[in-house]
Symmetry: C2
Amino acid sequence: MQTDFKATRALFDLPEGVTYLDGNSLGPLPRAAAARVAQTVTAEWGQMVITGWNRAGWMEMPMRIGNRIGRLIGAEADSVVMGDTLSIKVYQALASALEMVPDRRVILSDTGNFPSDLYMAEGLCRTLGEDYRLKTVAPEAVADHIDETVAVLMLTEVDYRTGRRHDMPTLTAAAHAAGALVVWDLAHSAGALPVDVAGGGADFAVGCTYKYLNSGPGGPAFIYVAPRHQDRARPALSGWLGHEAPFAFDLDYRPGAGVERMRVGTPPILQLAALDAALDIWDGVDMADLRARSLQLTDRFIAGVEATCPDLTLATPRNHKARGSQVSFRHPEGYAIMQALIAEGVIGDFRAPDILRFGFTPLYTDEADVDRAISTLAAILKGGLWDRPEYRQRARVT
Amino acid sequence: MQTDFKATRALFDLPEGVTYLDGNSLGPLPRAAAARVAQTVTAEWGQMVITGWNRAGWMEMPMRIGNRIGRLIGAEADSVVMGDTLSIKVYQALASALEMVPDRRVILSDTGNFPSDLYMAEGLCRTLGEDYRLKTVAPEAVADHIDETVAVLMLTEVDYRTGRRHDMPTLTAAAHAAGALVVWDLAHSAGALPVDVAGGGADFAVGCTYKYLNSGPGGPAFIYVAPRHQDRARPALSGWLGHEAPFAFDLDYRPGAGVERMRVGTPPILQLAALDAALDIWDGVDMADLRARSLQLTDRFIAGVEATCPDLTLATPRNHKARGSQVSFRHPEGYAIMQALIAEGVIGDFRAPDILRFGFTPLYTDEADVDRAISTLAAILKGGLWDRPEYRQRARVT
């Protein structure tokens, strides 16, 4: 293993006394991000004001940083651009893809997809009218439903609840063979494991950056468009910064060259600055090492929990190929158990109806974290320590 | 005048030696925003990590801050929510409005509208298909084209180039009388002058926050939905945070109550923190005072420039009622003249093809700024100082 994960851990500002296993929801603060954001605020916004768009390179950030993300997901150069939120990027990718398969009306997805992807697809179908519709099937049944009615296959590679991973190259090839295009959501893949959108044949891919890429709360999303589609993908959300010449202020829309046409409005510079600093950490990371380390940590956690917590049921596939970088267990009292765990300083999260999720992020998670999580969980379950009113009371954001 | 504009000026971190007249493009840094963003990064993201969504109130920020903006634009309580970019909010407002007037197919706008609004409308019409179309007429001809074919009238109140202001109550009433709904873009109104969306009868309103509201580069947008429409407006961009119960992770979309259904994805917390701090300044500002002061400053600038720069042609209406808080002049060499002005420390901006724009923002602009801008501009024009190759060379962002 070439990558020094002790060194990467030291680059994060982890809260004292906490074992943080929720990087699959919100990554912790990279030390360099605090300084970078402060510099962007005071030296750039404060001193350059409007001239920052040119002098500080703000206008180029969505493409420059898109290329940095591109390296982590196996994208060709200049095929990724940053902006908006993942939901917005899903809408753009779907709308563009549907327009390229004009004789079909079905978006196929699965019930393990993140709900917002499904909601955005529903909204798009309603706007498109005619007979456009979203069809959702069980994750394991997706391959069987890829047929000549499907215009676009929309899948999240790694399931946000179970950590189950779809086989991207195989499903993509099946969709292409049936004449459909594929949109991959990499929310739980980018920075979690090696991704190869080019090799896997993806037509479009989208993802967020605040999970495994540690860009901070509300960091911008990314969109990948395969080079073969870039100049015919028509953005349904046709904003001025995706125009061929934004500063000509023409009255008519003409999409810009390449993936940059997927830009919409003014990019969020403070959030992009945090992301840019967070990505510096990845310069020294080999993705194969990351994967090896992730599997070590998740295997250790699964073995430890199964040995000490008989009431928990593993929801994540044991097969390495079929999982991402999180481990989930089911328990009917999962919510209260997670609250008890958080009270003891081990932070994972809960997903309805009964999932306890734990993210293993090699950049800053180590064996001591894994072992503490196992022993704390075992103590809570053994002692019934979760069975208290304050742990059952649900917060708005769970 | 009750408002102390010397005091508000002291709350900004203005670059040394610069007269900044481009707050209509990007407002300068409020001193408190730097500290607030730093706190959000280190104490909230750094120490609370995922628990910040509850403990630091991140999840409530879009509505809480929406109400702060609401006060400045005359909105009813809980009628404004933050998120995304202005272009995205235009799309949402238009799509919702069109669905409420199902028997009509025309969006009416004007050629003075900001191009991105027109582009987004074009994109929406293409997605809707059928005979949906965008019709643009000259700004002064809008009233004559409001007829029973129009589904939605979409206007920007203050023209980004000329500063010409539409009469919101009159045009809104005319549209309503013809059976149409109205979407107002307040990009150059919010924080620039008193706005009364409730009194003016607006159905929807949208705006950005990085201009007169000083939220920093890429700060989030806002959307207003009139209370009478909130529970039947269906968001075309139906993201999970607009769902009735986002954390139930249901497979089907059900819009949430009120304007909150216009939320889409995860909100940009660092940008919202900057905006929140910037809005503190407005707590002590009376909007009538702001308007009076804005008119004093713009009148002084118009008079001074007309007296000393005969080659410049005023593009902004002289009539107080018919203008916002910027003054524009035309000159065929406007680009080079603006570059020369910036080189002398007076920052305005240029808009194609021939507009020199100057924003007058009473929170931090004073008479000395106005007088310096006049004398510098006069010297540049009199001496032909703009006629140099380096001033003619265009930057990407102009």
